[in-house]
Symmetry: C2
Subunit: 291 residues, 2 copies
């Protein structure tokens, strides 16, 4: 564990920010613990107004040398990377000299899944003396707890669907793909790959309205787990009130995510949203999958 | 093998027909071998004009007793089931007494994947003295051959994507789901579940236009394999000219299907369509997956 004021001696925490509410939840939690932060929002992904209240420097993917100079000048030695950033195409990136010197490594990053990409990125930063830490290490309060966030509990049938989904995601582990699937009444309706969770859930609703998903509304569970091979420092699955809304629109009974291995930026809001929608949101143990 | 005129003594072959061109390709191939056929098109899924030239009786899902009487009267003892039929909802089916007597079994059919459903259906028919045979057993010419159908061949990179896709589908085998995936430059873009192959391919194009799939046009392979647990008598993957068109629209390099374990109703048309679209269509061996 690197959390808590004991780490304040390591200087301010650099937070490389993608889109969404998570980077700010992490920044606020770290500051509450008495450590200062410097935000490095990725240009194009973060609203300038949202970062205005924090010390920050906008960064561009591919400008490794410039980031290095800015982070060093700010006294940062530890980095957190959090929020959504779509995988850019190699041809769309403008590299500075700091990155060009690492080009063979950078090109290797772009072959393979996201997990692979992030591991290599971490090694690049570590060669330059930075240390990557997980958002959950510096702000453990953002982790999904065990049990339900709202009032609803999964039924026996839901628990069977959760177990099947978790086993399926575990089998997909070696392929650096999909951290989410939808299982309804023991039938696998959808598996997430490049489309992301929201789009996968939207598909369930469309298939239902076309008669291609025939399980009753109020049946089925969105299951999200970390990939077995995942480096938890920068790629934990995340849920928020928007995930609850999407699951409810898809007609599901609820959402199950691995406890202590998924991020919930706003647990109170998620619980309230789940109660309003009449679905459950539960944190499951690592062993809640079918044998 | 049950193919060839030697089987003519077993009476006409009953072909339970879903939608698409495949049932007619099978019927024609069986007749060319000197065996007569009786088509049992599922009402709502088959165009009455398309079956008009064949001896046929329309059937309704759930009317097991009536089908039994008609097939027996026609002298059929062997059944083939082929073509697309969406999984109906239990509540939408009108059961006759023949089916109602089997209701506990029928209800069990509707819990779990399609493969499970079809296995139980086969047992129901077999209890009544019918024998299910695979379309590929009575018409082996509809099976995908090894090698390419058109002029294009997969590149070294395509072969790596094929191997990864095949390994992924193999890992999904125990879950009675997805017989198809798209892999581009070692990255898994999509995995098929309830949405079907065409819709999965349409998603690639949409994600590409939204910048969520960044691999170059002309990269990536649609891989289709039979599920390891699959009963090949009634659930082989199938490709046709429409699959080629969808893969080309998705910007893929080609299509790879397991040789001798996938159905191609119109191989010449598929090869010509692949050449026009500039993509490859290849039949792969069972071992062409990454170790």
């Amino acid at each position: 564990m690197t959390a808590g004021p004991a780490n304040a001696g390591e200087g301010p925490l650099a937070i490389i920010c993608g889109g969404g509410a998570l980077p700010f939840a992490v920044a606020d939690a770290v500051m509450r613990r008495g450590r200062s932060v410097v935000l490095f929002p990725v240009r194009g992904w973060v609203d300038p107004k949202a970062v205005a209240g924090y010390p920050h420097h906008f960064i561009d993917i591919g400008r490794l040398g410039r980031f290095h100079r800015q982070a060093t000048a700010a006294g940062c030695r530890e980095l957190v990377m959090i929020g959504t950033v779509l995988r850019p195409a190699l041809r769309d990136i403008h590299f500075d000299w700091g990155a060009l010197r690492e080009l063979p490594t950078v090109i290797r990053m772009f072959r393979g899944g996201d997990n692979h990409l992030l591991s290599i990125l971490a090694r690049l930063f570590e060669k330059r003396g930075f240390r990557f830490v997980g958002a959950h290490e510096v702000a453990p309060e953002i982790l999904m707890p065990q049990g339900t966030l709202g009032r609803r509990e999964p039924s026996v049938r839901d628990r069977a669907d959760i177990a099947r989904g978790a086993a399926l995601l575990s089998a997909l582990g070696p392929f650096d793909v999909g951290q989410a699937a939808v299982v309804a009444d023991n039938y696998v309706l959808a598996i997430e790959a490049a489309e992301g969770t929201d789009r996968m859930l939207a598909r369930i609703g469309e298939l239902r309205s076309e008669g291609r998903v025939r399980s009753a509304v109020g049946t089925g569970v969105l299951v999200k787990t970390p990939k077995p091979a995942q480096d938890r420092r920068f790629d934990l699955p995340a849920i928020g009130p928007a995930t609850v809304a999407s699951a409810a629109r898809a007609g599901l009974a609820g959402i199950a995510v691995t406890a202590n291995a998924a991020i919930v930026a706003e647990p109170a809001e998620v619980g309230a949203a789940a109660d309003r929608a009449g679905i459950f949101v539960t944190g499951i143990g690592p062993d809640e999958r079918e044998p």
